[in-house]
Amino acid sequence: MQHSGYFNQFGGAFIPEILVPTFNQLEAAYLQAKDDPQFWQDYETLMSTYSCRATPITFAQNLTEHFGGAQIYIKREDLNHTGAHKANNVMGQGLITRRMGKRRVIAETGAGQHGVATATMAAKFGFDCTIYMGAVDVARQRPNVFWMEQMGAEVIAVEDGSATLKDAINEAFRDWVTNMDDTHYVLGTACGPYPFPEMVCWLQSIIGKEARQQMLERVGKLPERVYACVGGGSNAMGIFSGFLDDKEVELVGVEAGGRGRGMGHHAARLAYDDAKIGVAQGYKTYFLQNGDGQMQDTHSVSAGLDYVGVSPILADLHERGAARFEAATDDEVVEAMRLTVRKEGLIPALESSHAFVQAFKEAPSMASTDVILINQSGRADKDIFTVADAIDDPKWKQFIINKAEEYRRADNSIDNTGDDHA
C-alpha cells in the first residue's frame, strides 16, 4: 500500500498475507475515488435521491426549555433510508465496489443497522450479499434480521467467541480471505485495517459538512459543543470531521457505560480506564482486554455500541485532547430516550441516546446563548423490543403474548392437519 494508515501511534494494517493484494486494490480504488470530484458528486446525488440527504437539523425547543440552558439542535441522521447514518458509508462503499468490478458484498453487523443498510445497497446495486451477525445480536434484533432476509441477504448467526460484533467481524474476515476475488467487505465502522478507518470517515464526513453549513445558515454560528455516541466511531467521526478545524467547537464522544465501571460491565474504551492499547482485528487502538491481550466481554443496552475496540482516529483525538470522551449508563440512556420521545416526538436509537444523555447533563449549566448539536445517528424502531422491556410496558407485553398465542394456534392447526394425513 502507498500509505501506512497511522494516526500517530494508532491504526495501521495488521492483515493476513493472503489479503495484501486485496488491500492494495482497495487502497488504490479509495484514493482514486477521493481524488475524483465526479465520485463525490455521484455520491451526493445518490444520497439525495435514494436516501434523505441533506438530513435537516432540528431545533429541540421543548428540550431546550426543559433544561433551561444551551439551545439544543439535533442532526437528523435517523432520517436516512434504513434509519441511520450507516447508509452513508454503505452507499459510498457500494460505488467503490462497483468501480472495483466486484459482484458480492459481505458485512458484519451489531445492532443490525449496518447489515440492513448493506443488504439494501446490495439489492439496489444487484450484488450478492452475506451478513455476519453475532448470535446474541440475532436474538435481540430480529426485526433487522427479518428485513435483511427480505432484501435477499443471507444472514449468518456467529456462535463463536462472545457471539457479538467483534466475532461477526472475525467471521467476515474469514469469508473475505476465501472469496476476495469477487467480494468486497463493507466494513461498517471507522475501525479495522487501513484504509477502512480513513475511508469510512471520509464517506461519513458528509454529516459534518452539512451540519457545519446548516448551523451557520440556520443559527448564524457554530455550536459550542457537538455530541455523538461512539461504538466503532463512524457517526462521531462523521459529524466531528465538519468541525475539526474549528478550535472553538468542543467535540464530545459518548461511549456505552453499560452498568458502570468495571471490566465486563460496559464498552467504554476511552472514557473509563479499563482499556489498553493493543492490536486486533487488523489495527492498533484501545481495546478492552486482559493482561495477556485476550479481548474481554462488553456490555451495553445497545447492540451497536458494545464493541471491544474504537476507531484509531478517535483514539488519536483522545490522546491529543482534541475530543473529550464520556460514558452514559444503560439506565441514563433509556431515560434520555423517553424524555426525547415525550418532549420532541423524536425517537433516537438507544445508541444515539447515549449522546443525548451527555448533552442533557451539560446543557443546564450552559448559557442560553450557547448552542449545542447532538448527532441523532439513528432511529429506535429496531429497538422497540428492548425499549419496551426497559420501560416495562404492560400493554406491549400483552400484545406479544397475544401474538405468540396466535402463532401457536396456527402452528398447532398445521400440525394437526399433518397428523390427519399421516
Binding site: 472475525n170 492490536v279 495477556d292
Partner: protein, 273 residues
C-alpha cells in the same frame, strides 16, 4: 537457561535459527518430506497437550508449531478457532504456554515454533516476549497477522535473539512480494496451499506446481506447505514438491473425535511410505 554457558561458548554457539536450519537440513537428508504438526496449547488442557507432543515426537514428527491461544484468531478456521476459545475458557495463559514450551523443548529433541497473533506479543511487550521465547528454547515464530511492514520491532528482537521469523507465502503473493517476505524470514517459509482459513479441504493437484515453483525461486529456505493437509494421499502428493508438510486442524479433529490416544495411529499413517 543459557546462563551457564561461558562467554566464548555463547559467541560460537549456533543461534536457534541456525540450529533450526541445521536440524531441518539433517532430517531432510534422511527423509524426503518432513512433517510439522500444529497444536493449540492448553486445549483441552496442558496435560493432554503434553501427551500429544510426547506421542507425536515418538511417532516421528519432525517439528511442531505450538499455538498460544488468542481470543480473536482471525486467520483460523472453525476447528482451531474453537480450540483457541476452549483453551482460554479453561484458563490458559501466556505464562503457562511459556512454561509448557520450556518443558517440551528441554525434554524432546525436535524444533518447536510458536504460532500466535501479534497482540499476544504486544501485550507482554514484544522485546520481552521474544527474549522469553529464546530462554524457553523456542526456535522461531509464525505471526499470521503481522506483515513485515508492521513487524519492525518484532523482526529486530528476533534478530537480536537469533530466532527464526517465519513468514507466510500465499498463492496471491506476487514474485516481488515473495522475495520481500523471504528476506525477512529464517528457518523455513510457510506456504499456504490456497485462499481461506485453516482446516478446510484443499484439492491437491498439479495446479499447485506453478505456485510452488514461484515459492522455490524466491528463497533457499525449506518450504513448508499447510492448509488442508490431512491424509497419506496428501503427503504422497507433496513428497518431492515441498520440504515439509504441515498438519494442523486434522490432528485436532482426530483428537476430538477419537481421543488423544488416536493421534499416534493418525501420525503413523501420515508418515507411512
Amino acid at each position: 537457561m543459557l546462563t551457564t554457558a561461558s562467554t566464548t561458548l555463547e559467541t560460537t554457539m549456533p543461534s536457534p535459527a541456525e540450529q533450526l536450519r541445521e536440524t531441518l537440513r539433517a532430517r531432510r537428508e534422511q527423509k524426503e518430506l518432513l512433517l510439522m504438526t500444529h497444536i493449540v496449547l492448553g486445549y483441552p488442557n496442558f496435560d493432554d497437550s503434553l501427551c500429544v507432543v510426547e506421542s507425536m515426537v515418538k511417532d516421528g514428527v519432525d517439528l511442531m508449531e505450538l499455538q498460544i491461544p488468542f481470543s480473536e484468531p482471525m486467520a483460523d478456521g472453525p476447528v482451531i478457532l474453537r480450540a483457541n476459545a476452549q483453551a482460554l475458557a479453561a484458563g490458559a495463559t501466556t505464562e503457562q504456554c511459556m512454561r509448557f514450551a520450556e518443558r517440551v523443548s528441554a525434554e524432546f529433541d525436535i524444533p518447536f515454533l510458536f504460532m500466535t497473533y501479534y497482540n499476544i506479543l504486544f501485550a507482554t511487550g514484544v522485546e520481552q516476549f521474544v527474549r522469553t521465547m529464546a530462554e524457553v528454547g523456542i526456535q522461531g515464530a509464525i505471526i499470521p497477522d503481522l506483515p513485515p511492514e508492521e513487524g519492525g520491532e518484532y523482526l529486530s528482537a528476533m534478530k537480536t535473539q537469533g530466532l527464526a521469523p517465519v513468514h507466510i507465502f500465499t498463492p496471491s503473493s506476487s514474485p516481488e512480494r515473495l522475495r520481500e517476505l523471504a528476506q525477512h524470514s529464517d528457518g523455513l517459509v510457510y506456504c499456504v496451499a490456497r485462499k481461506g482459513v485453516t482446516g478446510k479441504d484443499t484439492a491437491f493437484s498439479s495446479d499447485l506446481d506453478a505456485y510452488l515453483a514461484r515459492c522455490r525461486e524466491s528463497t533457499d529456505l525449506p518450504l513448508a506447505l499447510g492448509f488442508g493437509v490431512k491424509s497419506k494421499e496428501d503427503m504422497d502428493f507433496l513428497r518431492g514438491r515441498v520440504d515439509i508438510a504441515v498438519v494442523g486442524s486434522e490432528t485436532i479433529r482426530v483428537m476430538e473425535q477419537r481421543g488423544v490416544g488416536a493421534v499416534s495411529a493418525f501420525i503413523e499413517g501420515l508418515n507411512a511410505r
